[in-house]
Amino acid sequence: MDVTKVIDAKGLACPMPIVRTKKAMNDLESGQILEVHATDKGAKSDLSAWAKSGGHELLKDTEENDVLKFWIKKG
């Protein structure tokens, strides 16, 4: 996957992962992909809801050793 930007939100608590993601997304062009790393257990629900509302596409998400990773395509 052609990732344009990666942000590390590991260790951050609500609402920071979503605030950081939003900030990073502002710098991207439509169609570019943002990769987000987080450890907040609510991140999956938060990011999928946020992406849906903003017209972005959550392409993929994984969980490894308590680290959640997300790939979001800007809408």
Partner: protein, 159 residues
């Protein structure tokens, strides 16, 4: 994306935990690209107070109110388990441990995200709070201005 959505929050409470909930939702809503307004009234006005004491002319009652109310969010008590001020110390310790943002930081972040902070002028008069005592870069308004925002709000909360 459709046109900008709006979130409005009335912060009535002067409790640390409730103000924290309000500011977390405000920051989240700003990340959702909403236009966000927090309308501070009654005890919620204390969130906007500067930490330092100001030289302002006041009557006896106003002075008394000013002394008894917290100067800014960091001095607020908890709505439950306050234990005469020991509760907030405990919660702040736990928040640090879990890497949760402190309330002063959440407020800073909200201003950075252009959340509109409004002080209710009628209750400012009641509690004897003056503009000089409140943060810079805030707005002053009454119920009509709040309703103007709230009537086309998608999320409207009273905390």
């Amino acid at each position: 994306m459709s046109e900008t959505k709006k979130t409005t929050i009335v912060l009535f409470s002067g409790d640390y935990d409730k103000a924290m909930a309000a500011y977390i939702i405000a920051n989240g809503a700003a990340a959702y690209d909403h236009e966000v307004t927090i309308f501070h009234t009654f005890w919620g006005l204390n969130a906007l107070r500067k930490a330092e004491s100001m030289e302002v002319k006041k009557g006896f009652m106003e002075k008394l109110f000013g002394k008894m109310m917290p100067r800014g969010v960091d001095k607020m008590g908890l709505s439950k388990m306050n234990f005469a001020g020991f509760g907030p110390k405990m919660i702040k310790k736990v928040m640090k441990k879990h890497n949760a943002m402190s309330l002063p930081n959440l407020m800073e972040m909200a201003q950075e995200q252009e959340v509109k902070l409004v002080a209710c002028t009628m209750t400012m008069d009641l509690l004897g709070l003056q503009k000089e005592e409140l943060l810079d870069d805030i707005e002053y308004a009454g119920v009509a201005a709040y309703l103007g925002d709230a009537e086309d709000g998608n999320v409207n909360l009273f905390i």
